[in-house]
Symmetry: C2
Subunit: 380 residues, 2 copies
């Protein structure tokens, strides 16, 4: 049943890309520094940039969150650090194997690959994945390489349709002809894997959830609105954010977000726009400072003459989160956002994109979004 067939003719063998060669060079340098110390009779140690809130800075000029310059040492001859030192080297070795083989793996796969009992002891290299994931983040920041460049993928989430053709490992994917399904956004969308071929879209509309995306796809909004439509299944994963950034930087397309009028929607926008603390070291490759927030807006209850049914009371936690978000450095001095969050708090309720169905099934695609786009009525 599963006979081997020859590889597809004309499909290029997966050779090392320039990106892979650069990552390998960094990995080898890391290993060489350790062996050089050891051979010279010095203690092997690695310097690792600190991933913490206190080492996260707001770059006002570039308008992104960045990692500061603090680092910490990881020493082999330190009882409290020896295990992590060994774990760092183990994962670096697995990553080298992955790149050599031209293959990728998941965070869980890399954990399994490195997990074993150290010979002659009862000590495990790793006990749980919770120990493993932060070591991979350490390697990202130490090597200055994205997780995607380390050949590690996250779970797939999010879909795309619209006026664009992708080329992915030789396959041409016409996002105009995806029916009701859409193309699943891969976890790794770097330019050596995924190229943009033919794009006639004027902008990208990013919506929060798959159910809203279905409404836009069913109404073929990407055709009438001449755009690309994406969703990230809630807080968009890295693959989705990186693809949005590439649309913005390489194709110069505005990225316009349609999210819920609640602290969660505002936070999603904040992450898309400026980055997050936990991934601050990747903001320059993920954040989109020019991203716009089209709605739902606090004013919409009155402006769109919405019925009572759309109101969902703000919880105490919502109010707390809203105040935290309003104090973010990029929102703190932004009059529009201060008004927006005050407006929501003044309303006392949140509103979801899906609640626009109370006006009409396709009110969101036929009236709300086209009118706001025409008036350029958004927050940025």
């Amino acid at each position: 049943m599963a006979k081997k067939k020859p590889a597809t003719p004309g499909r290029p063998a997966p050779g090392p890309s320039a990106r892979d060669a650069a990552t390998q060079k960094k990995l080898v340098s890391l290993a060489e520094a350790v062996t050089r110390s050891a051979l010279a009779g010095r203690e092997p140690r690695v310097e690792i940039p600190t991933r913490s809130r206190s080492n996260t800075l707001w770059n006002k000029k570039q308008r992104i969150l960045e990692m500061g310059s603090s680092t910490q040492e990881r020493q082999l001859f330190n009882l409290g650090q020896a295990k992590q030192f060994m774990q760092t080297m183990l994962h670096a070795s697995t990553i080298k194997d992955l790149i050599d083989a031209g293959k990728t793996s998941s965070l869980r796969g890399v954990f399994y690959k490195a997990k074993h009992t150290v010979a002659g002891t009862k000590e495990n290299t790793f006990d749980t994945q919770d120990e493993s994931d932060p070591i991979l983040e350490d390697l990202e920041v130490t090597l200055g390489a994205l997780r995607e460049e380390l050949h590690i993928f996250a779970d797939n989430r999010g879909q795309v349709v619209g006026n664009i053709t992708f080329v992915d490992k030789g396959d041409e994917i016409d996002a105009r002809r995806m029916g009701s399904g859409g193309w699943g956004i891969p976890s790794i969308v770097e330019p050596d894997t995924i190229q943009f071929k033919k794009c006639d879209a004027d902008f990208v509309l990013h919506v929060e959830k798959g159910t809203v995306w279905n409404r836009f796809n069913e109404d073929r909004f990407w055709e009438t609105g001449n755009c690309i439509i994406t969703h990230g299944g809630g807080q968009p994963p890295r693959g989705c954010r990186r693809l949005l950034q590439r649309f913005n930087q390489e194709l110069k397309l505005p990225v316009i977000c349609l999210l819920d009028c609640d602290p969660w929607g505002h936070y999603i926008y904040s992450v898309i726009k400026q980055g997050s603390i936990s991934l601050a070291f990747e903001s320059s490759r993920l954040a989109i400072p020019e991203a716009k927030f089209l709605g739902i807006r606090a004013k919409d209850y009155a402006a769109c003459d919405l019925p009572e049914a759309v109101k969902i009371d703000l919880s105490d936690n919502d109010i707390k989160r809203a105040r935290e978000i309003a104090a973010y450095p990029w929102f703190e001095h932004h009059k529009g956002w201060q008004r927006e969050i005050d407006g929501m708090l003044g309303n006392g309720f949140k509103m979801e994109v899906e609640s626009l169905i109370t006006k009409d099934i396709s009110y969101v695609t036929e009236t709300y979004v086209p009118e706001r786009l025409a008036a350029e009525d958004w927050l940025d």
Copy 2:
């Protein structure tokens, strides 16, 4: 920015399908029965099949879970039932509107559509979606129509690649040329929306998670193994299950499952194969009694010479769940499954598909699955 363009030439206008006409007829009959009673001075009432464990039967011959014949009345002139009666009628009306418009909506969308304050009172038709979803399930069983036939979709989850071409509303989707992304499996995959065009695959391999699916897609297993590869992001949603059943029934393709060796993996298999209690009324359109379980098997720890690292201790809850599953009527007298579950309990640990990476990055695609397929070594 969002100029209206003429509809794509050659794309058929979404007219009512035979399926839609049949559903509309059922909705109108329901409404007419109510008005007939009212006009004749009799109390309007609806008879609704009972969706409960006690009304779920195991059909030994067809090997699926089925809903029994118990029903319950919903009366307008009964203080405890009047609200639900009204809610049932409201949702039936929304569904008629959706079908008339040739559009679909989400569970949440339908909830919003019906939610309002009853004129002249302070009573809401619905307060939360928790009240709304069961009413839609009532309508499904009362009308004998799938949720998909009521034009209601769930969130999209799951992806597909492989040796098949789909036609979805006029778009041709070649699942052989999806790159690393795959086609997102839509929530509604009924034959009037999605047709199978060209399929050369010998079977379907269904894997549990997107991360495992990535491994198979990256290694182009659908090409070497000549198959279709799907995943459902854990417990597969209805759209994914329905698509698998259509592959099996219409294209006569065996559906072979690669799931974790744990109670959750066994339960996923059980649902794919025989259906679930909560959706027993849909088993005949979702269940695949011939589905096979390829692995991971309890014997694999020894058979594949796996390292200690793959072991994850069974929790007390795992042991309890395993015993419950072993007592399911379709497993109870199945020697293979009794041995399998006993084997796992005897091992004292579970194993995940991803742990096969401890042998080699592509052990699962190059050795494990091909060998098991060649030997037809599976449970069914």
